[in-house]
Structure formats: structure tokens, C-alpha cells
């Protein structure tokens, strides 16, 4: 014992300190108003489409013209639905040959998706053109861990079936994931059956997606993604009385592909990413004469978008980051349309844009913020400059406050520029936003956030019937408040959100169509071991709309829709789920003159092997 102590005193003693931390994934800036929907959320709700998941997000309005598969629009904070820029694995997914360059969410299923990021408000400094109203950034699954096979099968109301299968995993330095999916529904009449329309409008959707990656070390990654979807649907001529059309069909195909490589230089401080992206959309409508209408229509649209991005992030230290984004993008499109025998050709046209943005990001435990500027040079007009600044502070009381100003722009679509109603002298549309947010965390169980925003839109393109072409004439304002609360009272989780939205078309002095002033969502989830049950309610207040037949302004009535669902996981390879949508069979319209689902029941199995 004595000897031991003696030796002890002789020792040049070293004390040992363990410094532990969690690994970090690169993340979005703290000050951005971003809502992230994870794959767990998607798995839990087993929603039919991505659009159905977005219905739960405050500040977002989803509107579908009839059953699943019909045109589905997403409005962010009162902006037009075409002002939502949609990215899937970095590829611009908007259809540049649609009249205003919007994205139709109808065929986008929630299978094989890792994460959905919803950015509310103009975001052009980060995302470039098109981010006038907001951005929805969808990231598909990247293979992780050992080989996993998964499946999903579901059937239900309106003669609906859906099946999906996928594999994913990682082998050495390679990651892979692939999924196949098919769904069909007999649907119901798109033009509301209460207006005497009887013919159901069904849909068939098939899609394939894959992502492979090579990760030789922690400093480098190369990822290639590919997504193909094919949707065939019956459509109606219009909503309301006599909207029915038994043989009017629409067929669309979309290819999205991209390769991204990144490497960290300078001892990891400089992360440079190069991306090459390609999108192709083809769409065709066919309408033969029938007993209800002698009109015939045959049209086809084809468009391509190519994009090259080069992003560089330089980490100065733990709190300071500089980011340079370079982007070049070109869209090409053409169409041919034959209406009642008369053919109109839309010769292939293109427009491109090149630009660069620089953002400085500061992040500490107290202050955080960012400031950025972006310059774009579109092929059809002069330089467009965008800016952004945000500043926020974490209070010691678990409170976070921030203020943000940002701008956005969007170039006119090829249709607005070069169609028979086109106007080649159009220029960009612009928006800006002010946003104030406050977030309060009480323990880990309760949090609450409040956001005030005011968005202004100017130089908006509208059809001028006197000039018989498009003009940059309109301007609008949207402001509102989003309130979100979440309580995790194990085993119950309650999420409630409320959105107050006020819109104003400066030309008419009236509110914008289909933007409810009041909307609210409630989600309650109860989980015990492998059993889970949830209930949700969506409320939309009164909103302005147009009568689909007379085009006069109407008010669409407020409604509430209740859904319930349950799941039980026997083993990870076998999980049963069931849900009842519109539980109380509420009759309502999302778009005046178009039908909505009545009480419907879906059930299915899923699992991972």
C-alpha cells in the first residue's frame, strides 16, 4: 500500500477530460422560416400524396380539383400556387410549359421520401428565380445501413389501390435506394356531382425513383438521382353544371435526374458542390366529341429544364460561414394544340438565366442571422438583384426571436412570353417579405411559435383582355399570422396551428381567390408500444372564388374535415394501417364547382425486411 502511494506521487500525473458531442449534419439556417417534414411523419400518416402532408402545415393551402390525381395546387402564404418553386433532389420540378410555370402536385406520392422542407415567403437569394412565394424542397431517401427491402400496399374507397416496393442500403462506400410504385383509383366526378355530374374521373399513376451515392470518405460525396413518373387521368372540361366530360383525358410524364458531387477542401473548411440537373415534362390532352359536348381538343406540351449549380461554403469558425451560390439554368418548351380542327403551334422557345449569390451566416448560442445578395442575368431582361437579411436572438428563457427581410423574383413563363396570347416584352415579377417570429420552448414537451409576415408582390403578370395578351400589371399584398403549438404529453402528442391570412389585389381592391382568411389544423396522436392512433381536423374559413360557369365572384363556404387513423406494428416486416377520411361525410368544395371525397376508408399493410 505504502509502495503504491510512493509510486503515485512520482507520477507526472495527467488528468483526463472527455469531450463528448453528437455528430452534426449540415443543416438549414436557423433564421429561415422552414418547416421540416421527416420520413417518420410520412410513415406515420401514410398519406396518399405529398400534397396531403402539406395540408397540416400552417401558412399553406392545398386545393385539389376533385379526386386524387386531379390538378393539385399549393399556395404558400397567400402567393399564387405557381409562385411555389418545387425542387426534388435539387432538380427544378415545375412544369415550365404550364401557363404560369407551376407544379402540379397531383402525381407526387409520399413514397421513398426522406424529408420535405417548406420555405415560406420569397427565397430568391438562396434558390434563384421562381422562389417568389416560397419553396418546397423534397429530398428522396438515401441508402443507409444494411440492405433493407420495404413494401406498402393499400386499398380503399373509390376503388383505389396502391402498391409500392423498394430497396435501400449501403455497401462499403456506396449507398443505394430504389422504389417502384403504382396506384389507381376510379375516383368520382371532378366536376361536382351536386351540379349533376355523374361520370367518375379516375387516375393511374406509376413512378420509379432511385438514388445511388459514392462516399469514399467523409470529405467527398457523389450522388446521382433519377425519378420517373407517369400519370393518366380522366378530367372534366370545367367545374359546376355541365362540366362533366366522359372522354376527356390527360397524360403526363416527368423525368427528373441529377448528379451532385461535393468535396471539402482546405482542411474541410471549404465545401464545394457541383450539380448538374435535368428535367423533362411531356403532357398531352385528348378530348373527342361526345354526347355532352361536340368540342374536340388534342394538345401536347414538351419542356426541358437544364441546370448547373456550383455552391461553395466556407466555414470561418464555429459561428461564421460564407456561402457562394452560382447557378445557370435554361428552359426550353414547345406545344401544339388542335381545338375543333384548328391547329396552333407553339414553336420551341427557350430562356436562360445565370446568376450568383453570396450569403454570410452567423450562428451562435445567443445571436444568429444572415445577410445575402444575389444577382441574376436572365436572357430576356437586364440584371435582377435580390437581397436578404435576418437577425435573431436566443433568450435565456427558452425564447427565440427573429426578424427577416427577403426578396424574390420569377421570370415570365414561356407560355406568357411566346404563346398566341404571349408578350415577348414581359419582364420579371417581384416580391418581398417582412417576417417576425417568436418561438418559446417550455421544457422538451411544449413549444409554441408565432410568426407575422407581410409579403408584397409587384409587376405580376396578368392577362389583359383589352390588349389580348399578358402584361406586368398586377400587384398584391398578403399579410398574416401563423400560430403553432405542440405538446408532447407522452403517450399523447398534440399539434395545433392556426393561420390568419389577409390578401389584397391592389387592382381590384378585393381579396385573392381561394385564400381563406382563417384556417386551422389539429393533430392528436396517441401511441402505446406498437399501437398508434391519430385524429386530425382541417378547418378552412370562408374564401372568395369564381363560379366556374358564370365566372362571377362567389364566396365558398367554410368547412371542417375530420380524419382518423390507426396502425399496429406486429413485427417490423408487418404493419397494419387504416384510416377514415372525412369521417363525418362533410360536403364541401375546395374549388367552386369541383367535388371532394365523402367518407372514405383505406387500409393496408407495410413493412421492412
Amino acid at each position: 500500500m505504502f509502495l503504491l502511494l510512493f509510486f503515485h506521487l512520482l507520477t507526472a500525473h495527467a488528468e483526463t477530460v472527455i469531450v463528448e458531442a453528437t455528430p452534426l449534419e449540415e443543416s438549414v439556417e436557423a433564421s429561415r422560416s422552414v418547416e421540416i417534414i421527416t420520413s417518420q411523419d410520412l410513415k406515420r400518416k401514410a398519406p396518399a400524396t405529398v400534397a396531403d402532408v402539406l395540408r397540416d402545415v400552417p401558412g399553406i393551402d392545398v386545393v385539389r380539383q376533385g379526386p386524387v390525381g386531379q390538378v393539385t395546387s399549393v399556395y404558400i402564404r397567400g402567393a399564387r400556387s405557381e409562385d411555389t418553386l418545387v425542387l426534388i433532389d435539387g432538380v427544378d420540378a415545375n412544369d415550365v410549359m404550364s401557363p404560369a410555370g407551376g407544379f402540379d402536385f397531383s402525381a407526387l406520392s409520399a413514397v421513398n421520401i426522406e424529408r420535405i422542407e417548406v420555405y415560406r415567403g420569397p427565397q430568391s437569394v438562396r434558390f434563384g428565380g421562381g422562389a417568389l412565394g416560397g419553396v418546397i424542397n423534397i429530398v428522396t431517401k438515401e441508402g443507409k445501413g444494411p440492405f433493407t427491402a420495404s413494401y406498402f400496399a393499400e386499398g380503399g374507397s373509390y376503388d383505389s389501390q396502391k402498391a409500392a416496393a423498394g430497396v435501400s442500403g449501403r455497401a462499403g462506400a456506396f449507398s443505394y435506394s430504389a422504389a417502384l410504385e403504382g396506384s389507381q383509383t376510379a375516383g368520382f366526378s371532378s366536376a361536382n356531382k351536386s351540379d349533376g355530374n355523374t361520370e367518375p374521373d379516375g387516375t393511374k399513376i406509376g413512378s420509379a425513383s432511385t438514388k445511388v451515392g459514392w462516399h469514399p470518405d467523409l470529405l467527398s460525396n457523389v450522388t446521382a438521382s433519377f425519378r420517373y413518373s407517369d400519370a393518366q387521368m380522366d378530367i372534366d372540361r370545367h367545374g359546376g353544371v355541365n362540366g362533366d366530360d366522359p372522354n376527356y383525358t390527360s397524360h403526363s410524364r416527368q423525368i427528373l435526374t441529377g448528379v451532385q458531387g461535393d468535396h471539402r477542401f482546405l482542411d474541410g473548411r471549404l465545401k464545394s458542390t457541383l450539380g448538374i440537373f435535368y428535367e423533362e415534362v411531356s403532357r398531352a390532352d385528348n378530348n373527342y366529341a361526345d354526347t355532352l359536348s361536340s368540342d374536340t381538343l388534342f394538345d401536347s406540351f414538351l419542356s426541358e429544364t437544364q441546370k448547373v449549380t456550383s455552391d461553395h461554403e466556407y466555414t470561418l469558425d464555429d459561428h461564421n460561414l460564407l456561402r457562394l451560390n452560382l447557378l445557370w439554368r435554361e428552359e426550353t418548351g414547345g406545344a401544339v394544340e388542335t381545338f375543333n380542327g384548328a391547329t396552333t403551334r407553339f414553336a420551341r422557345q427557350k430562356q436562360s438565366v445565370g446568376g450568383e449569390g453570396l450569403t454570410y451566416i452567423y450562428d451562435s448560442e445567443a445571436w444568429f442571422g444572415d445577410a445575402g445578395v444575389r444577382e441574376d442575368e436572365p436572357s430576356i431582361t437586364g440584371t435582377i438583384t435580390n437581397g436578404r437579411a435576418a437577425l435573431g436572438y436566443h433568450l435565456s428563457t427558452g425564447t427565440r426571436v427573429s426578424a427577416t427581410y427577403g426578396t424574390g423574383y420569377k421570370m415570365p413563363s414561356l407560355y406568357q412570353l411566346y404563346s398566341s396570347f404571349g408578350n415577348p416584352s414581359l419582364h420579371g415579377e417581384f416580391s418581398d417579405t417582412w417576417e417576425l417570429t417568436a418561438e418559446q420552448h417550455i421544457g422538451s414537451a411544449f413549444n409554441m411559435s408565432l410568426a407575422y409576415f407581410k409579403n408584397r408582390y409587384r409587376n405580376m403578370i396578368d392577362f389583359d383582355s383589352a390588349a389580348n395578351h399578358f402584361l406586368n400589371v398586377a400587384s398584391a399584398v398578403a399579410d398574416g399570422v401563423e400560430l403553432q403549438t405542440s405538446a408532447k404529453l407522452d403517450p399523447i402528442v398534440i399539434d395545433v396551428n392556426y393561420t390568419y391570412l389577409r390578401t389584397l389585389d391592389n387592382t381590384t381592391g378585393l381579396s385573392l381567390l381561394r385564400r381563406p382568411q382563417n384556417s386551422a389544423n389539429l393533430n392528436v396522436r396517441y401511441q402505446i408500444a406498437k399501437f398508434e392512433v391519430y385524429a386530425q381536423a382541417h378547418y378552412k374559413g370562408d374564401r372568395a372564388d369564381t363560379d366556374p360557369v358564370t365566372f362571377s365572384r362567389t364566396t365558398a363556404a367554410a368547412y371542417s374535415v375530420f380524419n382518423i387513423g390507426a396502425s399496429y406494428e406486429f413485427i417490423s416486416a408487418l404493419k397494419f394501417h387504416a384510416r377514415v377520411e372525412n369521417f363525418f361525410g362533410q360536403k364541401y368544395e375546395e374549388v367552386a364547382g369541383y367535388g371532394t371525397p365523402g367518407l372514405s376508408v383505406y387500409a393496408g399493410l407495410s413493412g421492412e425486411l
Binding site: H13, R264, V373
Partner: protein, 156 residues
């Protein structure tokens, strides 16, 4: 076209300076700094050339460091926050999954053993410097070993 960019760069630098001044260092929430009071392992002695110590498993007693909380046995580390040492795990190291052991000599802040990652070595040195300034560490403890370790899987 390059003028706004240059302007932005200048603004960024100005903002950086401004915010750096107003920023007060606080311990990061996710980072747990724990201290294990124990002897050097035979392996580390080999690396540092400190071979004059035959017994490698002698627990330190509280009496040796009277102004500190009771030393726990090796299996139950004492929280570093109780000690007041706020060692930062650099963000970039957390992204790049950098781990390792750093041995710092207190007298001259020399890195006797590098983790192989300059960021971790520098963070350890900064923490020792701060510890000495605040009187948490005493020059009597000749060296201090930092083990930077990430929790959770390395699965990406």
C-alpha cells in the same frame, strides 16, 4: 455586376466584426464535457514517453484536488460543467466526425500528443488556457488529456 458582390463582402466582414464583439462565449447545449479522473493508460504512456509510472489503475482521490467535487471511479465520469471547464467540440469536427486524444502540457500549452486534427488540438489548448486563466486548473497538474468522442453512430 461585381460591385454589389464586393459591397456584400464588405458588409459581411463588417457584420462579422460587429457580431464577434457582441458575442459572449456560452457553453454549447449539445456538448457534454465530462471529466474522468484517472491514471494514464499504458498505451498513452507509451505514446508520451512517460514510463516512470508502474501502476496504471490507481484512482485519484478527492483529497488530491481539494477544490473539486469528489472524484468518481473511472466508470462514472464527473460532469465537466461541475468542474467549470468548457471545452468546445468544433462544429466542423462534428460534421467531419473528427475524434481523438490530445495531451496538453500546462506549463507552456504545448501539444504533447496530437489528435491528428488541428481543430481539436486547438480547442483543447484554448480550453486549458481558459482553465488556467480562471484558476480552474493549477500549474501543479502538469498535463491534461482530452478525449474528443462523438456519441451515436457514424452512419451517414
Amino acid at each position: 455586376m461585381n460591385r454589389p458582390l464586393a459591397l456584400c463582402l464588405l458588409l459581411s466582414i463588417a457584420a462579422h466584426l460587429l457580431l464577434s464583439v457582441s458575442y459572449g462565449q456560452r457553453p454549447e447545449e449539445q456538448v457534454l464535457v465530462s471529466v474522468e479522473l484517472r491514471e494514464q493508460s499504458p498505451e498513452s504512456r507509451k505514446q508520451t514517453g512517460n514510463l516512470n509510472h508502474p501502476g496504471s489503475r490507481i484512482p485519484l482521490t478527492a483529497s488530491r484536488i481539494p477544490d473539486r467535487p469528489l472524484a468518481a471511479p473511472e466508470s462514472a465520469p464527473v460532469l465537466g460543467s461541475a468542474l467549470g471547464l468548457a471545452t468546445n467540440y468544433p462544429k466542423l469536427s462534428r460534421i467531419l466526425r473528427e475524434e481523438g486524444e490530445v495531451l496538453i502540457r500546462l506549463s507552456d500549452l504545448a501539444v504533447l500528443q496530437s489528435s491528428g486534427h488541428p481543430r481539436l488540438d486547438e480547442s483543447a489548448r484554448a480550453s486549458v488556457r481558459e482553465g488556467l486563466d480562471k484558476g480552474i486548473l493549477k500549474p501543479g497538474d502538469t498535463q491534461i488529456r482530452f478525449i474528443f468522442k462523438l456519441r451515436g453512430t457514424l452512419d451517414r
